[in-house]
Each structure stands twice: as structure tokens, then as C-alpha cells.
Amino acid sequence: MSSTTNVVTQGKARHAKRRIEPVYWWMLVPTLVIFTLAITIPGIIGIFYSFTDSIGIGDWEFIGLTNYVALFSDPAVLQSYLFTIGFSLVTVIVVNVLAFLLAVGLTSRIRFKTGLRAIFVIPMVISGIIIAYVFNFLFSNSFTSPDGLLGLPWPEVSILANPDLAWIAIVIVTAWQAIPGTLLIYIAGLLSIPGDVYEAADLDGASKTQTLLRITVPLVFGYVVINFILGFKGFLNAYDIIKGLTDGGPGTATRSIAMTIIGGFTNGDFAYQMANATVFFIIAVLISILQLSLTRGRNAL
């Protein structure tokens, strides 16, 4: 990290004691203050309340680690973690496989390339809750038999009403919205591979499958890592799409961690859900550290 001194007035030797122009303080400090008030202070308040029995208003008392102890033996909380992590894992795999294949297709010698790329990106610019409402209608009314699509055997009842299958709908809709961003990153990765690598492979008589598995995949592997971690981190926060599709139901089958925490304000377990939020925060930090350590060494990224 090169030090950038104020070249006009000061020499490098004295930079440590250099007086900083007031304008720089004005550019940074007000933002730092708002940032602290908007994010840091609420975070600290949240952690503080996680050691109390507060319901959000009124009196409270310190109860130590009681919330945390209760948290780890709470089936509802456990279920929301299992559901969210399971759903995130499945979705991140579905999204990356499909986005990678689409990216390979969209960088090959196809017709209507620009138009097709433009279409595939559209889901990214639509509000998740609106997408979820539209798909909610489709799952409830169109993707059910006997009047279903194309005469195919669709389930009698909407899969949204089936506690064992509702998560599939959530995976489909989340993937529908998340594929564009992932796809664009893969396209960028594929386009960064120099063409002569493929020429050489072609001269050596490599088949298409061999080229894909031995050349393309290894060369874009850095992008795969990025997409997996960014995707997984994002899906852990799932809220909007689940809200619009199942609202956590049927029962509590599809309640995500975010929904469980947010519910703390109305359910009267404010402090308890702040303990939940604190645990969730620690998990988010661990994933971010993993991301940093995995991507830091890669100069290509």
C-alpha cells in the first residue's frame, strides 16, 4: 500500500506529522458519525439487549447468557437455521451450475447474443417481493393439475401448501432472480480467457467436453469461488422472496433466520431474537473471513 502524501506542501519524510487539511476531515467525519449512529450503535444496543429479558419496550433486567443457552435448545430456531443453511446450499449449487452453463452458451458462437444476454439479466432488476407474488400466483393456480401447463402431470395441490415441498418453490424463485448476477460474472470470467488457449487445444485435438473440463473450468475457478461465497452469503439473508411466496409457511416449514429475527419485534421475544441476531452476525463474519482468505491470494481477482 503506497502512502500518498500531499505532494505539494510536504515531503515524504515528514508525512507522519503532516497537518491534514480541514477539508479532508469534512469529507470523512460527518459520514463516520452518521454511520456510527445508523449501524454501529444499533449493533451494540442489540448485543447489549441480548443479555437482558427486554421485550422491546419498558423495564428489563440482565439475565446473562440465559437467552443464548435457550437459543441452542430451541427447536424453532434450530429449524430456521437448518432450513436457511440447507436452502442456501441447494440454491447456490443450482444457481452456479445453471449460470455457468448459460454463460458458456452465451459466449459461444450463437445468434441473437446481445438480445439473449439482455433478456437473461432482466430478473436481476425486478423486486424480489414482486417476483415472489407473481410466482406465488403461478404455483398456486397454474402449476397444479388438472388444468396445469402443457398437460403435464402437476401436483394436485400447490407445492406452496406442502410443508415438504414448499422449499423447492423458494429455490426456483430465488435462483430465477439470482442467476443473472452470477451469469454476468461467469461471462466476464470466460471472456478473460485468451482465445489462443482454445486454439492450441483445438490443434491438439481436444474434444469439446475435454476443453470445457480441462481448460475452461480451471481457468474460471476463481470466479466459481467468488460466486459460491457471495451467493451463499446472500441467500442466508433470504427474506423478501420467502415472504412473498410462503410467508414462512406452511406452518414454520420455510421460516428463514431473517424472518425469525424480524419476528422478535412483534412476538415479544425482542431480547431473545437479539441473541439470535448476534449468533447470526458471528456466522456472517466467519463466512466473510473465509471469503477474504480464499480470494486474497488470487491476484486475478
Binding site: V8, I45, N141, L191
Partner: protein
């Protein structure tokens, strides 16, 4: 810690890729497969548009969801316009989005410039890591105390959403801006300073225009987040009359659940502005996402 941009910005949208093989044969089977995939993207949009233009009777026949509207009717739009108080919702969505985009670009650019030019100072250097740390914090983690605090300070309204959304966008935007600023040679500024420009003038006349491509990227992310978000406005804005469009669409799930033509008209009106904006700016959107995500 941040690497240079991995590629020049033009690679995504333009077709300047070298032909990989000597033979330029169009891959028709691939084209057909991709067109079929594109149908899965367009089908929900088609349903949204066609449902929105149906009469109430036709929309009720949900077994014919894929049928074209016959006759075309704009009754759904009229009703949705009134039920969601669309002009107010659109104005608030616009305010929240424009406010978040502008505030994010300006505050992040200011902060990044101050940080990069004073990197040798501990306060500025640590501020960078402090701002960056918020990237680890998901909104649900701090949402409940934020709801409390915004309520106490009278910010349980669109202004509060702008402030919070901007602060959540800040980490990522500062990361993008600082990486970009480090690639701008200091010599550029020297001449301006020798001509007597103050730091403030140098920033506005020289640096800020140079930041334009990065500002576009930062702005696109802020736009997509602020226009489309449901969770934050639905939790922070306490007065239902002051909510954004995505939150307003909620009433069709709870109160008017069988008026499909009206609800789809409202969905269409909520998603259309973003889609239209995208169609006009798709080049930058594609580049922006690529640049941003690779950095983040």
C-alpha cells in the same frame, strides 16, 4: 489488498472478442437451447403483463392464466392506481431511490478521496477498515434496534430509509471508489494544485469527473437495492401511507387477494420503471455488476 480491475470495461457488452476458431459457424443448437431458456425468464413477465390487461372475470379463470387478454382492459390499472395510491407510492419510491443513489455516490466518493489521500494518517486508514466492516453485517442483525431508534428520532419514514440504505451501501461503495482512486496518478492533481486550486476544487473539477465510471457502478447497485427492497422500507416506515411501491403491492396478498387483474397491474407498475431503466442502461448495468461483484 485490492487488485486492479480484472478486465477493461468494454468486454461484457461489446462483441470485441477474437474469433476463437478460424471457422465462424453459428451454433444453432446452442441458440435454440438458449432461446428456450429465455422463455423461462419471459414467461412470468408475460403472465404479469397479460393478467394486468384482463378484465376481472377473465382474470378469475385461473386455469387460463396463460391466455391472452380478451378483451383488453385497463380497469386493473385504474383500480390498482387508486388502491395503492400509486402516484404517492411512486413518488416515495423515487425519492428513496434518488436519495440513496445520490447520497451513496457523494458520501462514498468524499470519504474515499479523504481516505486515499491521507492513507499515512492512522485515523483515515482505520476509518477505511471501520466502514468496510459493515459489509459483514446483514440488515436483519441490526434491524430491531434500528426500528426502535428510527422511531425515537422521528425517522420512521422515507428519510430514515434513505439514511439507512445509504449507510448499508457505503462499505461496498467505498471499497470500489478507493480501489479506483489508487489507480489515479497523483501527478494529475499536482498541476491543478500548482495552478492554485484548493483540495475542494481539485476534487470537484478533476477527481469527481474521473470517478464517473465507478460512480455509475456504485449508483447502479444503490438504485437496484433502493428501488426493489422490501424488507427495510416495510420495517422502518411506520405510516402505511408513506411506503414504497413494493410494500404497497402487499395489500393484494392480504386484502384483495382474488382481484388478480388489479394485483398484477400493480405488480407491473412496480416493476416496469426498473425494467425500462435497465433496457436503456443495460450496458452499464452488466459492466457494473461484473466490476462490483469481482471486487466485493
Amino acid at each position: 489488498m485490492t487488485a486492479q480491475p480484472i478486465m477493461t470495461t468494454s468486454t461484457i457488452a461489446t462483441e470485441g472478442v477474437k474469433p476463437r476458431f478460424k471457422m465462424e459457424r453459428v451454433n444453432w443448437s446452442g441458440t435454440i437451447v438458449l432461446i428456450l431458456c429465455a422463455v423461462t425468464v419471459l414467461l412470468p413477465l408475460y403472465v404479469t403483463i397479460s393478467m394486468a390487461f384482463k378484465t376481472q372475470e377473465q382474470a378469475r379463470d385461473t386455469s387460463q392464466a396463460f391466455a391472452l387478454p380478451a378483451p383488453f382492459s385497463i380497469d386493473g390499472f385504474v383500480a390498482a392506481w387508486n388502491l395503492t395510491n400509486f402516484p404517492v407510492g411512486a413518488a416515495i419510491s423515487l425519492f428513496v431511490t434518488a436519495g440513496t443513489v445520490a447520497a451513496t455516490i457523494f458520501l462514498a466518493a468524499f470519504a474515499s478521496y479523504a481516505i486515499v489521500r491521507n492513507w499515512d494518517n492512522r485515523f483515515f486508514r482505520y476509518s477505511f477498515f471501520y466502514l468496510l466492516a459493515a459489509m459483514f453485517i446483514p440488515f436483519p442483525v441490526v434491524a430491531l434496534p434500528q426500528i426502535q431508534l428510527t422511531g425515537q428520532f422521528g425517522l420512521d419514514n422515507p428519510v430514515g430509509v434513505v439514511i439507512l440504505a445509504t449507510m448499508f451501501q457505503l462499505s461496498f461503495s467505498v471499497l470500489l471508489f478507493t480501489a479506483f482512486l489508487r489507480s489515479i496518478p497523483l501527478e494529475l492533481e499536482e498541476s491543478a494544485r500548482i495552478d492554485g486550486a484548493t483540495t475542494w476544487q481539485t476534487f470537484w473539477k478533476l477527481i469527481f469527473p474521473l470517478l464517473a465510471p465507478m460512480s455509475a457502478t456504485v449508483g447502479i447497485f444503490a438504485f437496484l437495492y433502493a428501488w426493489n427492497d422490501f424488507m427495510m422500507p416495510s420495517l422502518i416506515i411506520s405510516d402505511p401511507a408513506l411506503t414504497t411501491l413494493p410494500v404497497r403491492a402487499n395489500i393484494f396478498q392480504t386484502q384483495f387477494s382474488n382481484n388478480y387483474n388489479i394485483s398484477f397491474a400493480s405488480y407491473l407498475m412496480a416493476m416496469a420503471p426498473a425494467i425500462i431503466a435497465y433496457l436503456f442502461t443495460q450496458r452499464w448495468v452488466m459492466e457494473g455488476v461484473t466490476q462490483g461483484a469481482v471486487k466485493g
